[in-house]
Symmetry: D2
Subunit: 394 residues, 4 copies
Amino acid sequence: MFNRTNEIKVLRDPIHGYIHVEYQVIWDCINSREFQRLHRIHQLGGDFQVYHTAEHSRFAHSLGVYEIVRRMISEIPSICESIDEFERIQVLCAALLHDLGHGPFSHFFEKITHRNHEEITVDLIMDPNTEVHKCLIKAHQDLPLKVAMIIEHRHEKEVLNQIISSQLDADRMDYLLRDAYETGTSYGTFDLERILRTIRVKDEKLCIKESGMHSVEDYIMARYHMYWQVYLHPDAKSYEILIELFFKRYKEIDEIIDVFEIFREGHIITNEEFILMDECRMFYGFQQALFSKDAILRDFATRILDRHLFGWIEDPSIEEEKTVLNRIENKEYYFFKTRSSSKAYLPYQEKDDKQTIWILTQKNELKPLSQCSEIVKALLKMKAQTKMRIYFSK
Amino acid sequence: MFNRTNEIKVLRDPIHGYIHVEYQVIWDCINSREFQRLHRIHQLGGDFQVYHTAEHSRFAHSLGVYEIVRRMISEIPSICESIDEFERIQVLCAALLHDLGHGPFSHFFEKITHRNHEEITVDLIMDPNTEVHKCLIKAHQDLPLKVAMIIEHRHEKEVLNQIISSQLDADRMDYLLRDAYETGTSYGTFDLERILRTIRVKDEKLCIKESGMHSVEDYIMARYHMYWQVYLHPDAKSYEILIELFFKRYKEIDEIIDVFEIFREGHIITNEEFILMDECRMFYGFQQALFSKDAILRDFATRILDRHLFGWIEDPSIEEEKTVLNRIENKEYYFFKTRSSSKAYLPYQEKDDKQTIWILTQKNELKPLSQCSEIVKALLKMKAQTKMRIYFSK
Amino acid sequence: MFNRTNEIKVLRDPIHGYIHVEYQVIWDCINSREFQRLHRIHQLGGDFQVYHTAEHSRFAHSLGVYEIVRRMISEIPSICESIDEFERIQVLCAALLHDLGHGPFSHFFEKITHRNHEEITVDLIMDPNTEVHKCLIKAHQDLPLKVAMIIEHRHEKEVLNQIISSQLDADRMDYLLRDAYETGTSYGTFDLERILRTIRVKDEKLCIKESGMHSVEDYIMARYHMYWQVYLHPDAKSYEILIELFFKRYKEIDEIIDVFEIFREGHIITNEEFILMDECRMFYGFQQALFSKDAILRDFATRILDRHLFGWIEDPSIEEEKTVLNRIENKEYYFFKTRSSSKAYLPYQEKDDKQTIWILTQKNELKPLSQCSEIVKALLKMKAQTKMRIYFSK
Amino acid sequence: MFNRTNEIKVLRDPIHGYIHVEYQVIWDCINSREFQRLHRIHQLGGDFQVYHTAEHSRFAHSLGVYEIVRRMISEIPSICESIDEFERIQVLCAALLHDLGHGPFSHFFEKITHRNHEEITVDLIMDPNTEVHKCLIKAHQDLPLKVAMIIEHRHEKEVLNQIISSQLDADRMDYLLRDAYETGTSYGTFDLERILRTIRVKDEKLCIKESGMHSVEDYIMARYHMYWQVYLHPDAKSYEILIELFFKRYKEIDEIIDVFEIFREGHIITNEEFILMDECRMFYGFQQALFSKDAILRDFATRILDRHLFGWIEDPSIEEEKTVLNRIENKEYYFFKTRSSSKAYLPYQEKDDKQTIWILTQKNELKPLSQCSEIVKALLKMKAQTKMRIYFSK
């Protein structure tokens, strides 16, 4: 029913060996303007300022997620059997397109626009004017809606939602492996092959055979380490703060930098504006700011372009904080305090059914991971920490 | 003072790239009869019957431990500075020779002879008739004794003992990486480079800079996973049981298989007998047993040579156990129960000072790992499990 | 004499494990504006349009070349002994800075500006207004000149030139390994460790001990394969052609796109303009062109941004070429012929002394590689091929 | 028609990730006595005396060849389509069992028994008393014969012979990758995935699509390097010489070492004797020889067990040879000359159709590799070298 490409197209990939494309609609989506844009959005935002090789984009990651899902739905018998071809296409498209709505320096963008990336992804997919919408609708008139429903976790076939977003989803599996590879750390490594071999579907739930439980433990630890070593690195946060402060200043002065006008309070960003707004455009804007009349704006532009990061102290004593403060003249711009709870980054939690990883026991019953794994039971007792950090110009 | 080899000798190694030998005494020890014998002792005993590529020997591992120690004492400033050349030689020799006393199928051998491998290692090093003793004493008259003292954890320079045997010793680091490499699992992988970069000595204690703490957490998890996935695999235990039962039978019948006579109750194995006794000799003995008049001995010999393992059930219900028992005729030989506590294999414990991993905080203080790492704090609460398993002929 | 950093700074790197920085001047250069800019220049230009993961920048590569040189001058005895600290600093800086003068999409930039990147590198280093110049001169007043001389291959100490640029230079070693890693191909792999272990200096010539000859053969083959599989891939060329045609059109029409004005015929690009001109700025320019009144310019901008490549046929028959031509309306812009000789990419040539790889025989004599290696002797007989290709809009 | 295992059985393998077994007959063959014996035959004979980690056995390699063949016949469309299930089973069994007839220290064994390993493999497969024969015949009465015919390269379906033995066979692909992995060299690495993706069958010939040609060039170079760096290493030859000289002596004296009696001139080794004769048994024999009354035999046994290799000089001058000879007392045993032509190890030859690698051009024609690849054309001109070496006691 769905058109296939002439022959299977393959794209070389260091994480998966090859990405295999066999449906025309996938190939069309890859070649759409909105997907190609992802080449200009770093997967890890400004983390390349900390790990200098973390220069990979959401383009490569999106292909990787697609490939993992492709393998899931063709290699895992209990998934193969429970979904038809149209559903296969839906979940493959959702995998490929799930990150379409990421703005430049993702966290910053979500903060300044008050919109999260999933919302924008759905907008782009449903907008009849986007190329990606046209590719999808050409393949099947309901395809855009179905893909959007998976992205919003409300597809009627529960397992499709879980494949794209759950504690064991293809998204996380690809990014852990890819980010570890690109940063050159070994922390994100886990046994993808074994996990794929032991995933099952039971009672509409994605689960893992007991024999794969140790791989899941390993994967949870990989997540934990990547969060602390890479994603939450204080210097990465420092870079984000510079961008935030730049725009705080930009909004206070009356100079105009064309490409940044869409960030003015009150402006609603259109899809067309969004598609143009990538990290290249941001860097061009920062370059423009080098010629600003405002010294503070110029300074932050320089810091962003040339990596003059703020220093930082974790949980400073009152004296330490005071010493720093005394040294800083313009405290509004050159002193910044963050207080972050690690709650969201505890290695594993089982707050509700959806956040639970299910184990399929040898007796063919589903049990929450924490009841099967001694180590996870221990990890569940781990407490969130709150850390205060002060950032300041050196 | 100590002779160096003409030029640095290098041996290609998949784990470390190269093994570098610069002292003549090391080269001599490698070429000694007792060390060469290690090529005929599998690193993982009968585990090659479970992981078919786990065919590596204690020879390669011993070189690996040596290489890690060599790097420790030449790359870590606080170690370099605190030991002199003679002490360097001592700890290098101890690293190289620490496994000299392993018998064939190590656990089995320790059980049947009631001697542990460290004891035998010391015996061989101190025996004036062994080649290895002669190599050592040629370099320095106190060298055998000093090496033996490190093996026995009672060298006066505490840090030397810790390098060879502690929670962060070179032994474990090599075998985790090597066993993971040879079995093809990813579980044993951790960041050796980072650990080596962050090891320090403070107050005569080996410790890790706080910035290396995550690597240590990763290493502890690697240990945990290797224990459960590889070292304690039920099929590996099954193979060990076959060997145990073979000798139980051998002692009960009056046939004589020459090479096995040293295992008779009451016989004290000499160093000369020990050196000859390797796994090749064992396999030859099992081949001889194929021609025994005793059907049970023949059967176990066949099982050992041709990998006819016992089946097993973990924590069987009473019915399951009964069903099995009813099927077995000769219960003495074809039914076997094990009860193992995982206590010894909890990922990490801090029973006493010596078992503690010390973290060197940014304020230059030593703290136990469990006070610094949330994840280790959680792991310490993990409970030992007791598992019962029945093994039986299929 | 030269300031050292407080402690050795290390940067994680997937190719070398860590990049080690011990001199302040190196750290300062890394933090200079001109070096930070390299994060916005892809190492492989538009090749990420062919190998989707080839998104790494010249920043990472430059650090890699620096690290290889750092190892060469500290690990290879015959190099260590022959250069003093000032010369060490010179060659380290040259390694780090050798690619400073690369414009966006390097080949394109050299073509349109008629200047090669080495020339610009030297300009930047010698310009008293650049940050990099200031960093260098702060360390030693002759340092900029000395570094420039190495870049220009005319330093009086011949071996320093060879380390940076010769058939066995650190530049090639890093990029082969790095590009292979980032593209996920295995072709570029060779045994860097062994080559570093067997490099020597004899009669002012960098050479390889005979025992390392096979590693060199392997490295030559790696080069050969990377050229044909990655660097000369027809689709990469296709992307370059799009950029070329874009500017051909741009120069013909009278619209102005600010960021592209520096490419007008006759304009001499200043160092300041050069430093601003990175690939982000280029992409911004292409975005601007989407709103051009000129349909052809708009079309090429779209093609560049959204990867609508030309198709191509290699050595087409006359009929094939005719068929294509008949289909194309605007042949000036939508048909393009290339004729390339592979001469420059023969795996190995010995045109003159400087292009020769020297082998240090066991008898301590220097011989050209081709006299020692049967395989290289065979490769020297390989003939250059000339290939014609036509590119055209699909 | 053919029984399948209950579920697909998987064996972890570092080269292939997993070995997949789906047919009962394969599982039975793996568990046969003759196949289990391969665990006691090193893949590289005495090469572990040169590369200390080369301790892997023919067991692991045989599984690897099986796995590559399994992928070939299930993933390559033009193979899948041209063979039926029975033929699939035949070629899978042939892959698994092709090395069954290797004696201990393979070259030595073939030399002393004047039989090659393929002959013995066929003997074992056809002998109604072997377990392996019983496994095969249980699955299909013609299976032993069909498997034997593939081993002998005379199966009527030509492509099955080529899969097992040709210039592009699964045997070589596995051993190059595996030996490189186990020795820790990078030389044997090539892109197996790409080769498997581009293999086709055309006119009953295994061939490679033109787009895979570079992978084949890479593979040919891998072979070349492995031969010179690993397989033909002079020290490996030195170890073989020791074994040869041991038996030369053994045959001259009248002492009896039980396990070696089968090597007496005139004795025809039965299949039963062959199956017992593994490298463990050999080492036991050498241990026995330590107690010989003959000093020379004792000396060679010691050398073999403890790695006291002969020294060697390549292409010695007349003086060098004389100097050595003057020093040696017992020239019959302690001086050994070899003259080896590298003819057999030229990287690639096209002596006849069967030795040719065929390329499937884009126009769907078959051409010999040498007509398509410039580099192979060059390699074909490479000349064989003859090297003389003298070996002698140090």
